[in-house]
């Protein structure tokens, strides 16, 4: 069926009404030479020829299939079991948008419910929503929620300097105009103790990341008690893979847990689409942003799924909604659910252990090099800081010649960490790749 928005007669009528001769006249404000420029295209090619040309172009890209990747800093190269794509490729899932007539989409709701349940189990929190765009926006929603829990009366947000720098930017962007003061991240010298001391009667929440942006793992004992003593909320951002090995936000008595869900079955994919997971204590569920799927029974006692607390959403509550996020990253959340189901408890622990051991093996090997320094004393998970003998950008350019994608240049965001690189090692990095990295670092130092 052809879609015809309006007829020639209707078009004529509209033009007459506004006093214009032709549609072309509407573009008269555009300089003539730009109006109908000649587009010079190569001669047409056959599909076979085009495929060959595109393949050749794509091969000039460097990617993690062909280069060893030691870059992390918030986006991680983990193995994605083939079952993830297999389920995702089912059109029932990939063609479905966030359910607007939710209860007829029982399959979609069930998949979201299972995702929520697994994130709760992983983070040891009570409730989890249907997801956000990414870790950064999930954190911004956490701030808005903490502000709302305090009924808008607390106007200060304390955020650790070791929270992902882009998350901190996103928090500031989302909350501008709300009259909040975001503080605590002015200098890396603000350690946990200093941050806790910044929490006062006017503070809505304290946000920490563990493992932090620099890869380091912290003992958060006592933090929640200190924060709760001031009636503020504790927000913990974490790498979901790390929860296979370390204590969960719920173990630290966090009020809100969030993070980037990309490591759970979503590819690096040039930075998106990613997945923000978001979980909290049950007492705050009515302040939680996003959608929430619940399990119930129908009139005949059969299991079914519903969207709960929908009356708080924007289509009903308008500007007083808990958030303007009514959507979710459905396909990425499904990927996370399939990933976690495929790996299971032991599998996830094994991935985390592999990351830990390979990262520590690499850190040890690099620390032996004279030109580089590695802090082996501070506990870390899969990322660690390497002090380099020259600017990180130069080192990274050199590493590319060895088909190695180097680490994150920490000097970009922390002036005190000029010439420091954040290296990431996951289960994807083989012993041979690590050996190549160590050798290449040595070579590049002396170039």
């Amino acid at each position: 069926m052809t879609y015809v928005p309006h007829t020639a007669a209707e078009r004529r009528q509209m033009l007459d009404r506004i006093g214009v001769q032709s549609v072309e006249d509407l573009f008269s404000v555009v300089p003539e030479r730009y109006r109908f420029p000649e587009v010079i295209l190569p001669k047409p090619l056959s599909e076979l020829e085009i495929m060959a040309e595109l393949r050749e172009m794509s091969e000039s890209n460097m990617d993690t299939q062909h280069a060893a990747c030691f870059l992390g800093a918030g986006a991680y190269n983990h193995y994605i079991p083939s079952v993830v794509d297999h389920i995702l490729s089912r059109s029932e899932f990939y063609t479905a948008y966030t359910p607007y007539q939710p209860e007829v989409s029982q399959g979609t709701l069930q998949s979201i419910f299972e995702y929520q349940s697994m994130i709760c189990a992983l983070t040891k929190m009570d409730v989890c929503n249907a997801s956000h765009y990414d870790g950064a926006t999930a954190m911004a929603e956490a701030v808005i929620m903490a502000h709302s829990v305090a009924r808008g009366k607390r106007r200060k947000v304390v955020i650790a300097p070791t929270v992902h720098p882009e998350y901190r930017q996103t928090v500031r962007t989302y909350t501008q105009g709300m009259g909040l003061t975001v503080t605590g991240d002015e200098t890396l010298e603000n350690d946990l103790e200093a941050l806790v001391n910044l929490v006062d009667e006017d503070t809505a929440c304290l946000i920490v990341q563990n493992p932090d942006f620099l890869g380091r793992v912290h003992d958060l004992s006592g933090v929640a008690d200190a924060v709760h003593a001031k009636k503020a909320l504790l927000v913990i951002a974490c790498d979901p893979i790390s929860l296979g090995l370390y204590k969960a936000p719920g173990d630290w008595d966090a009020d809100i847990a969030l993070g980037e869900g990309q490591p759970l079955g979503s590819p690096l994919s040039f930075g998106g689409p990613y997945l923000g997971f978001f979980a909290c204590k049950e007492e705050y569920v009515r302040r939680m942003a996003g959608r929430l799927v619940g399990q119930t029974v129908d009139t005949q006692g059969r299991r079914g799924f519903v969207l709960t607390l929908a009356t708080r959403e924007q289509h009903i509550r308008r500007e007083r909604a808990t958030s303007n996020i009514c959507t979710n990253q459905g396909l990425n959340a499904l990927a996370a659910a399939v990933y976690l189901a495929a790996l299971g408890r032991c599998g996830l622990a094994r991935v985390a252990q592999l990351c830990y051991h390979k990262a520590h093996y690499a850190a040890q090997a690099i620390s032996v090099l004279d030109a580089y320094d590695v802090d082996l004393a501070t506990p870390f998970f899969k990322e660690f800081i390497v002090r380099c003998p020259k600017p990180v950008a130069e080192i990274n350019r050199g590493l590319l010649d060895y088909e190695i994608i180097g680490g994150y240049d920490l000097g970009q965001v922390y002036p005190e960490l000029e010439q420091h690189m954040l290296l990431c090692v996951t289960e994807m990095n083989s012993a041979a790749q690590i050996a190549d990295l160590v050798e290449a670092l040595e070579e590049v130092a002396h170039d």
Binding site: R151, R286, T311, R312, I316, R317, R320
Partner: protein, 135 residues
Amino acid sequence: MAIKVDPRCRYTKTHEWVRVEGDYGYVGITDFAQQQLSDIVYVEVPEIGDTFSKGEVFGVVESVKAASDCYLPVAGEIVAVNEELEDSPDLVNRDPYGDGWFVKILIEDPEELNDLMKPEAYRQYAERALQEGGH
């Protein structure tokens, strides 16, 4: 269904009531409001010690149909909240002028009570709203 009003209360155009007892006032939502909302599943009340001006949002009532703001009929300080509503929000449906009260306030300025509707005026107001298709 007929709209019940409590002769002891004064009413707002946003369907809250206040019942004065000395310097204090009990506040809740009207029978008309609970009928319109249908099954109430949650009532969010403020903290004791909070103060609100006349007409300010002091709570949220959530039903299976909507989550609506509640406005304080007169300025005052919250001196008590109805703890029962946390476990039994349906008290608002069953007894909106009695066990379904939301908060008890210390009235700041009794003069403000004069701006509110008397029972019969409110009944007519609510009936008109009902005929016009709800609120």
